[in-house]
């Protein structure tokens, strides 16, 4: 598949702050591509560089294979939803939404049809005559989405477009956006710091940290095979358990020891052993590989119970069924799904592959 948007070695500094450091992105045509990262990672800056609002210090931006680094925003034919909405204060919701159509000098009738379509899609019919100052954050956010969805651009750039919606509406809009993406077949570049959004909507996820891409892949790849320690602990909730260990023929930590399931290490290797809470089980069969520890805390969450277990001075969180009942201080054994464990180099923090 060809690339809709490519960022080649893009760097951007604001004075002392290096917002983007040699950023590489390749966004396939027609994909739903999510840029996931914590606050300040450079997500907005990436979108602004791609949209042509910010000139990169070095590097190039390619749109459909053509160098667009010098092109002005209007020429790029991209629609963007701003994190701050950027609705025009002196225009009504309807005027805001139809602004791109008026820029293209569409006929009044065409504009009205498009407006109606978008208003229905986003459930904003009753807001159309209001000014931005008369709307709530979530309402403005939907108008901002409408201003993008009203036209058929080369690609949609969306900067955290659902953050201000209530949970019900957010879940609904998530499904809606995925559906819109399918029906339009356009490229979506979607920025979020919400991993649930990333996991549920994305074809591809790029995890961004401090202006560099840490890992690109399908959501399941990011989750199942994090490229380094940082991605491992950023993605997933509760975060991945990481235990200091020495890996060789065995993986040994303070007060525990497990067989090496095939990680390629030579000699005694200082490492971090990673296992997600759902890959640990307190329901132990005799032959299973397991860790012994003591219950430190129990956190019932309704659909599951998180059990905090202390193993050799370090704590791990284990996802248990909601019916599980443990008392604090109780001695337990946690079975480990050795197919789904991770090992990270203690120095470089990169994942160590299995042989």
């Amino acid at each position: 598949m060809s690339s809709a948007i490519v960022a080649e070695g893009v760097s951007k500094s604001f004075g002392e702050v290096e917002a983007l450091k040699h950023l590489e992105l390749d966004i396939p045509d027609g994909s739903f591509f999510v840029l996931l990262g914590p606050s300040g990672a450079g997500k907005t800056t990436t979108l602004r560089v791609i949209a042509g609002l910010e000139k990169p210090d070095t590097g190039r931006v390619l749109l459909n294979g053509i160098d667009a680094t010098g092109a002005n925003p209007a020429e790029r034919d991209l629609a963007m939803v701003f994190q701050s909405y950027a609705l025009y204060p002196k225009q009504t919701a309807a005027q805001n939404i139809t602004s791109p159509l008026r820029a293209r000098k569409l006929s009044k009738a065409d504009i009205d049809t498009q407006l109606k379509r978008v208003a229905e899609l986003l459930h904003i019919e009753e807001l159309l005559n209001r000014y931005p100052a008369q709307m709530s954050g979530g309402q403005m956010q939907r108008i901002a989405l409408g201003r993008a969805l009203v036209r058929d651009p080369r690609a949609f750039l969306m900067d955290e477009p659902l953050t201000n919606l209530d949970l019900k509406l957010r879940v609904e809009m998530r499904t809606e956006l995925t559906r819109i993406h399918r029906s339009l077949g356009r490229t979506f570049l979607y920025v979020t710091n919400d991993q649930v959004e990333a996991m549920s909507m994305a074809d591809q996820v790029a995890v961004l940290r401090q202006g560099t891409v840490q890992q690109v892949g399908k959501p399941t790849e990011i989750y199942d095979r994090p490229a380094n320690r940082w991605v491992a602990s950023f993605v997933g909730s509760p975060r991945m358990n990481l235990l200091q260990c020495t890996a060789n023929g065995k993986i040994e930590g303070e007060g525990w020891s497990l067989p090496n399931p095939g990680f390629g290490v030579q000699g005694d290797h200082k490492a971090l052993f990673g296992v997600r809470s759902e890959d640990l089980s307190l329901d132990v069969r005799d032959e299973a590989v397991s860790l012994a520890g003591k219950v430190y805390a129990v956190e019932p969450l309704g659909d599951r119970t998180l059990v905090d277990v202390e193993i050799g001075g370090q704590r791990v969180i284990i996802k248990a069924p909601p019916t599980a009942s443990y008392t604090i201080g109780e001695q337990v054994r946690a079975a480990v799904d050795m197919e789904r464990v991770h090992l990270f180099d203690a120095e470089s923090e990169q994942a160590i592959a299995r042989r």
Binding site: P73, S84, Y88
Partner: protein, 301 residues
């Protein structure tokens, strides 16, 4: 467990003791009598010259010279005001010229200054701060300092005794002020509005015109009024650069009434009052921005 830092008894009385009768109010009641008295004295002292002038403008000529002065017991007349606007009045032309000069110089300063301010607000320029300081520093100079060089230049360009000359000088003097004040207003408007419009498919200028401009109208109005008042009141350039009674502006025309053997004080006073009215009206219109204008830009949209 929460720790209470508030003193005993305050905690239950809501924010800032809303439920208690505010003690401040009683103090104010006591003070207000004295306050009003002091303010009245202050007002009379401040307004006395103005009141005196207004009276002079309304008195018949013989009453003006009456000794002791007739403060209340004179019969008011509008003769002097009539003279101001009569066709052979020496000051009426001055008013017309003032309107023309102030109007055009303000127009030029605004048309040039607003886009310049926008550029200074939105773009990264080399040594932007230095440029802005330089622009502002031209305002530090008292007009008297530059009037001689301007006079010499205007003589060579034969702009002396022309309204065009004054329009240019006033526009030049108002431009830095317009740029600074408008930059303050434009800084307050997020650049993202224009950026969104550019992504909608508008050019940079269209984006400014359609999205930012409507938000700037009050700011432009306030700035223009300041420029108008400056041009209207300006005296030094006017008196030096124009001697022709046909093209001089009101301030020098009024000044021209004084001198000679007999002075028609009634006409002087009536002209001065007439001259002050537009300034009062405009100052009233922009009173909210008068203070803000000093802090340049700390103005809410």
């Amino acid at each position: 467990m929460a720790t209470h830092i508030q003193p005993e008894g305050l905690a239950d009385k809501g924010i800032a003791g809303e439920t208690v009768d505010p003690p401040v109010r009683r103090e104010r009641k006591f003070g207000s009598g004295v306050e009003i008295l002091l303010l009245t004295i202050f007002m009379v002292v401040m307004l006395f010259p103005v009141i005196w002038m207004l009276e002079t403008a309304l008195k018949e000529t013989k009453d003006i010279y009456a000794v002791p002065a007739k403060v209340f017991s004179f019969s008011p007349t509008l003769d002097h005001f009539q003279n101001v606007f009569s066709s052979d009045s020496p000051v009426f032309k001055g008013f017309v010229n003032s309107v023309i000069v102030a109007g055009f110089s303000t127009l030029i300063a605004t048309v040039l200054g607003v886009p310049a301010a926008w550029a200074y607000s939105r773009f990264t320029l080399k040594a932007k701060k230095d440029q802005l300081f330089f622009i502002l520093s031209t305002r530090f100079m008292p007009p008297v300092v530059v009037v001689i060089p301007v006079f010499l230049m205007f003589r060579d360009l034969s702009l002396l005794d022309t309204r065009l000359g004054l329009v240019l000088v006033y526009a030049a003097f108002n431009l830095p002020f317009t740029i600074w004040m408008m930059k303050g207003f434009i800084d307050e408007v997020p650049a993202e509005y224009e950026e969104a419009a550019m992504l909608d498919g508008f050019s940079r200028f269209e984006a400014f015109w359609r999205v930012t401009m409507p938000l700037l109208i009050p700011g432009i109005a306030a700035t223009a009024v300041f420029a108008l008042i400056f041009s209207w009141n300006e005296f030094v350039f006017s008196i030096f650069l124009i001697t022709d009674p046909d093209t001089r502006t009101a301030p020098s025309a009024i000044a021209g009434l004084i001198g000679g053997t007999t002075i028609d004080w009634g006409l002087v006073a009536a002209s001065a009052m007439t001259f002050a009215v537009p300034v009062l009206v405009f100052a009233f219109l922009v009173r909210k921005h008068l203070v803000a204008g000093v802090t340049l830009g700390a103005v809410r949209r």
